[in-house]
Amino acid sequence: MIEKNNNIMIDIQNVSYEYSSYIDESIQLAVKDLSLQIERGEFFVVLGHNGSGKSTLAKMINGLILPSKGDVLVNGMNTRDEDKIWDIRSTAGMVFQNPDNQIVATIVEEDVAFGPENLGVPPAEIRKRVDDALEVVEMTDYKSHAPHLLSGGQKQRVAIAGILAMEPDCIIFDEPTAMLDPSGRLEVMETIKKLNEEKNKTIILITHYMDEAVEADRVMVLNEGEAVMLGTPKEIFKQVEKLKSLGLDVPQVTELVYELNKEGYNIKDDILSVEELVDTL
């Protein structure tokens, strides 16, 4: 019997995921014996190159796929428990990379209402949830617009509102800014931070952008399905060489400090932002 810990939102216990290769049908492991606990209200970032197992992990958290070995518990519910699958999906909502693949209706507010309608929420309550969700993502002014005429950042915020209207405690974002321009990326990141700070949502963000990862409480680096690094952004990013060997990147200012220290200087090596470095030098 697993004891329920109210502070743990996501509990991943010795999880592996197997699949057979397209090329020779050999058994491959996308995730290898991973154990991880994500706390309620945490802003957690997952980094790793393409094919490192990030998306597989995300799909297991939301019960879209089941682990081959081990268990995934979402707010104490096991994703193997078929009776709980809808509760799990409304507890841990998921936002994907391409906003165009996530929008189903022809009017913004109808799109946002789609999720709660399917959960059987009463109409008056749906109205309230839709209005609240659009307010949070700052898209109220566009509620009667057609989604396809919006910018990428706006569409992605509508997709987020659609998830919010299902009132999840946790939202998993799988590279939500990969297809957006810099201002769209900024809009979506502001929204994600707001959900974490003001709405106390647990956030799991999968990204390739190091400037997004520096905002997290904790960062995990996946490589070949294993958690090879786990810690605060400062602890992770100062390991410049290790990150580069894993095919990842560090913020440019962090790399500059690393380069200067190679020349014999002794500058604080966990600098992540322009302001910090200006103050330090």
Partner: protein
């Protein structure tokens, strides 16, 4: 001069309530052998502009001359224009369709009516240029490859047409940092080895700073800025107003200089910043 645009306007849905001027009096000249970065936020007219350069779209007004040929002239053959200007779209791997990598890359050159020997040579050369091993990969299905490799196959298919101008629309979108660096290195190699003009469309100011010699900034259908890379990236405030930015390292040097430190602030790369800061630290020590 390889590309010249004179007073080019393009209007979407003219005469309807959805009328929108996407290009507004564009005047541009590109010399052969330039490496140009094209930046601007979504909806600024970048993609519309790019599609005009190989005749996929026709200007509402004005003229476009590519390698001496006026695109609006009836005598100009679009086929030859599209061969001269190779366009690699966003997510080009979605356009792969053949059974083997060889056939996919050979598709364009074959349609040019080239001999089998010439097609074969072009496929080999193109694969080498983008860093794909010929013998190992030629008979493989393009769909078995990783995202970054698929994208290379798509770029090789355009390179095999031997274009004079290569336009790449967001070639690193969706790739991880390593995949992005690899593709950018290949593009640099193509530029260095071939006698080619490149236009790189990108949202990544770091990528632009690393590669290009000159930048066009599109904003509200106009060319808002046009100049050498260093000069354009010195205009942080203007770029930020347009929803764009400068590389983090450029931003840092500017902020550092702003504190009264005597350093150059027009750096574009980490290497340049390192040199500048090392000089600064040494001079401080000597003083």
């Amino acid at each position: 001069m390889i590309i010249e645009l004179k007073d080019v306007d393009y209007i979407y849905n003219p005469g309807t309530p959805f009328e929108k001027k996407a290009l507004d009096k564009i005047n541009l000249q590109v010399e052969e052998g330039e490496f140009i970065g094209l930046i601007g936020h979504t909806g600024s007219g970048k993609s519309t502009l790019v599609q005009h350069l190989n005749g996929l779209m026709k200007p509402t007004k004005g003229s476009i001359i590519i390698d001496g040929e006026d695109l609006s002239s009836k005598d100009t053959k679009m086929k030859s224009v599209r061969q001269k200007v190779g366009l690699v779209f966003q997510y080009p791997e979605h356009q792969l369709f053949e059974e083997t990598i060889y056939k996919d890359i050979a598709f364009g050159p074959k349609n040019l009516g080239l001999s089998d020997e010439e097609v074969d040579k072009r496929v080999r050369d193109a694969m080498e240029l983008v860093g794909l091993e010929f013998e190992e990969l030629k008979e493989r299905s393009p769909f078995e490859l990783s995202g970054g490799q698929k994208r290379r196959v798509a770029i090789a298919g355009v390179i095999a047409m031997k274009p004079k101008v290569l336009i790449l629309d967001e070639p690193t979108a969706g790739l991880d940092p390593k995949g992005r660096d690899d593709i950018l290195d290949e593009i640099r190699k193509i530029y260095d080895k071939e006698n080619i003009t490149i236009i790189l469309v990108s949202h990544s100011m770091e990528d632009i700073a690393r590669l290009v010699n000159r930048i066009f900034v599109m904003h509200k259908g106009k060319v808002a800025l046009d100049g050498p890379t260093r000069e354009v990236f010195s205009k942080t405030d203007e770029l930020e107003e347009m929803g764009l930015g400068v590389p983090q390292i450029t931003k840092f040097m500017k902020a550092f200089k702003g504190r009264g430190n005597k350093v150059k602030d027009d750096v574009l790369t980490i290497e340049e910043a390192k040199e500048e800061i090392l000089n600064y630290l040494r001079s401080k020590k000597d003083a």
